[in-house]
């Protein structure tokens, strides 16, 4: 019996393997509910599981395309990239890590800057990608966010950022830390100019990005179940030596504690953003 089964498995195994190779290209397993999802279907549902609403992390290029009306936008500041000012070497030299990140993500940095229309409004958007060194903020990311804000001030347009970050980039040391002050100062000027800033938090948003521009939105929106916090959960667990509560540092936790405005499903996000822009963008600035 066992011999027979083994044999039959072996006989079947060849086509099964082939099938798996093929299906691996077509299917993705949902991280949360284990459902097999058609890749094409998942793309259509903006990388959200149609069975359990789990939000997969989304690459910056797809998100930029989704954000702007008819996917029409102009990418900006792509030439702003990282240097290695500290000559930082851990298990690998930092420039090697950067090269690898560029290759694997297809991006020049951990954020894409772009301009275009959203619901007919002029928008400067900065979209982060966790695939590029954990979406960490070094000098180049800080500079790009700052330029984005400055352009919006010059052209009296809105800023929208999509955060996805493990925090400040360690390999640029205190220069990375200073980017928090730099982008926050730029936002002070945007605020004084009375221009809109919508901050969208996606999984994960932690550390120096949370403690700077991500938490400074006029309105702060989060995707469902995103990890959002200052300190990482592991660091907290090690410090306080107790188990963290259920839901701790999720979007819903922040909403409950009054730290963000709304939690919105990605598939409903664009109409929400447009409604907010309609409110924030004053087209007849009669006083000025």
């Amino acid at each position: 019996m066992s011999w027979f089964r083994k044999k039959s498995n072996r006989i079947e195994s060849v086509p099964a393997n082939e099938r798996r190779v093929k299906t691996e290209g077509i299917f993705v397993k949902c991280t949360k509910c284990d459902a097999a999802l058609y890749k094409r279907e998942l793309e259509e549902s903006l990388q959200v599981c149609i069975h359990c609403d789990f939000h997969f992390r989304w690459d910056a290029r797809s998100r930029v395309c989704w954000l702007f009306d008819d996917c029409r936008y102009e990418e900006l500041d792509a030439e702003v990239t990282s240097l290695d000012p500290l000559e930082f070497v851990d298990t690998k030299p930092y420039p090697e890590r950067l090269e690898r990140a560029k290759k694997t993500s297809g991006l020049p940095e951990a954020i894409i800057n772009a301009r275009g229309k959203v619901g007919g409004h002029d928008v400067f958007a900065g979209v982060m990608d966790f695939n590029f060194l954990g979406g960490s903020m070094g000098s180049a990311v800080g500079e790009k966010v700052t330029r984005l804000i400055e352009r919006a001030i010059d052209e009296r347009a809105a800023v929208i950022t999509f955060a996805a970050s493990g925090g400040a980039r360690m390999q640029e040391g205190t220069l990375s830390l200073m980017q928090m002050a730099k982008v926050s100062a730029a936002l002070a000027q945007l605020d004084s100019a009375k221009l809109p800033f919508i901050s969208v938090l996606t999984d994960p948003t932690t550390g120096g990005v949370t403690a700077s521009f991500a938490m400074l939105g006029d309105v702060i929106i989060a995707e469902p179940r995103a990890l959002v916090g200052f300190a990482g959960p592991r660091v907290i667990e090690q410090t306080i030596r107790q188990k963290l509560p259920e839901n701790f540092q999720t979007s819903e936790f922040l909403l409950e504690h009054g730290m963000i405005d709304i939690v919105v499903d990605r598939r409903e996000m664009r109409p929400h953003i447009i409604k907010l822009l309609n409110f924030m963008v004053n087209n007849n600035e009669s006083d000025e």
């Binding site: 702003v80 990282s82 830390l177 002050a181 938490m215």
Partner: protein
Amino acid sequence: MLTPYERLQIARAPKRFYTLDVIERLFEDFTELRGDRRYGDDAAIIAGTATFHKTPVVVIGQQKGRDTKERRMRNFGMPKPEGYRKALRIMKLAEKFRRPILTFIDTPGAYPGIDAEERGQAEAIAYNLREMAKLETPVVVTVIGEGGSGGALGIGVGDRVLMLENAVYSVISPEGCAAILWKDAAQAERAANCLRLTAEDLQRLGIIDRTVAEPVGGAHTDTEESLRLLDSALKENLEFAVSIKSSERVKRRFKKLRELGRWSE
């Protein structure tokens, strides 16, 4: 020449002077002002009014504890959101009454705890960064011991940033960095060398304006002399900060922050 790791040990030396020592020795008429008017008071940050060489000022700083009891009371100098909010409240008071602000940084970092997260640690720091950038009053920042990441920067935006010779100022603690990059906290010494966290490095990188000398062996070997050196550096830099025309002050600060970083374009 001391290695960065040796400086780190000096910066953390238990006998090194703390914010309260600076206040007691270099300031007069100190009145501590407490609470954030929102949730509570945070003993990890001390704030109040005082006079410095007869000039009325606001003084704010993180305070580590000297003994076990005080360390616990001050949460080892790790502020919670109410600490940052109190600090900003007092800074706005200084702005309202056109008094300069002196802040003193000495913290391992903002407190990583459940309550701190619940009350918006990230928001508290972010909001301080934005609001400090546009304070219309002179601000002189001094890193006196440990400048632990965002928790330090949360009171660290100003017109002049000074740093003691053996103080450290870093995006992450060397231990934390080692745990992430080498998966081994014991590699802290290597991490300390990589992170460029000394005053010398940070002055070269344009992050601090002035290094304040310490006696040979570190401030803890001669507190009297260290505080004398700090006093004259503070006096000189406060005078400079006060001399900036008020119409230029915020513009100048924005410009200074704008230039931070090294990138290719």
